[in-house]
Symmetry: C2
């Protein structure tokens, strides 16, 4: 799927929905689901929402603007994958869901106002580890990053029922997943 | 996590939310997201919703009732994993989302009315391939089955952006997932 203008609109369609998906999924769900993780140094649904908030603040739109303004001459600030450990302290999951929805909505407003054209989407920037990337790739990654974390939340929550399902574990793909998110 | 009464309430919490999660995620999303799959003999989001509907009709509650009525003496009817190919013909995704929400809500009403007690949850039934299973395991599997398919939908949709994300594919866990659902 080439990331042309119609794909930009598909990307925005998906990005627009994620706050409502997480809200329907996680708000007021018992903490036995939302605060459990997969073991030491793994994330809970709560932590993942914190990570998504940090991405809205520091990653996607700041990088998009850096590409348009500086091209390859300026390297993106590395993404802090554990920022939510500090930033989520003293916050509740409902507050974080609200914050994520607010930031996402603001960022998408800003993206729409940019009125990006095909030539803009081909503009190049510099990732600190991956090297040269395009704006088109950045925006596709923003959407796929939502999916990777929805995928991860499903897996983390399913992990809590690993024993409870008994012999059915053999049939449940999510319990065989070893995919881990790393962005 | 042992599946006692408090876990039954956690199971119901999760099962209650899934229709709204799928609705927020998929309703009116472009068909480029919802009708694409991962290749021959794989499922799209549309097909997965059809599969969930078939489960509500023929799998979870019919099996729960069979356990309570017949115990191990009667074997569950095998689940038809491709029934949605027939049943979804001529239906739209919004119609299917409505149908899934209606069936799930009816099934959960029925489950609550059963007022299951710890001894009921230990009742045993017979699965055609897995052998003896408990009602507790069946109900935990119902919830985990929702998660396995949410996990699958995220993966199927991310697959559509495999090329578009460029070098970021190395960081996106969902693109490395090989877990497949088989129930």
């Amino acid at each position: 799927m080439q990331h042309n203008l119609s794909h930009l609109s598909h990307t925005i369609s998906l990005l627009t929905r994620t706050p409502a998906v997480l809200n329907a999924f996680l708000r007021d769900l018992p903490e036995a689901w939302t605060f459990c993780n997969e073991g030491a140094n793994t994330w809970s649904a709560f932590g993942i929402v914190g990570h998504l908030i940090h991405g809205e603040r520091t990653d996607w739109m700041p990088r998009a603007k850096m590409i348009l303004q500086f091209g390859e001459t300026q390297t993106f600030v590395p993404f802090d994958r554990w920022a939510q450990e500090r930033e989520s302290q003293g916050t509740s999951l409902p507050q974080m869901l609200d914050e994520f929805a607010r930031l996402r909505s603001e960022n998408l407003d800003e993206l729409r106002i940019m009125n990006l054209q095909p030539a803009d989407l081909e503009r190049r920037g510099r990732h600190p580890a991956l090297g040269v990337v395009t704006l088109s790739q950045l925006l596709a990654t923003w959407a796929t990053h939502d999916l990777t974390h929805l995928h991860q939340i499903s897996r983390v929550m399913a992990h809590q029922y690993r024993e409870a399902v008994g012999p059915w574990s053999a049939y449940l793909g999510v319990l065989r997943c070893t995919g881990h998110s790393a962005t």
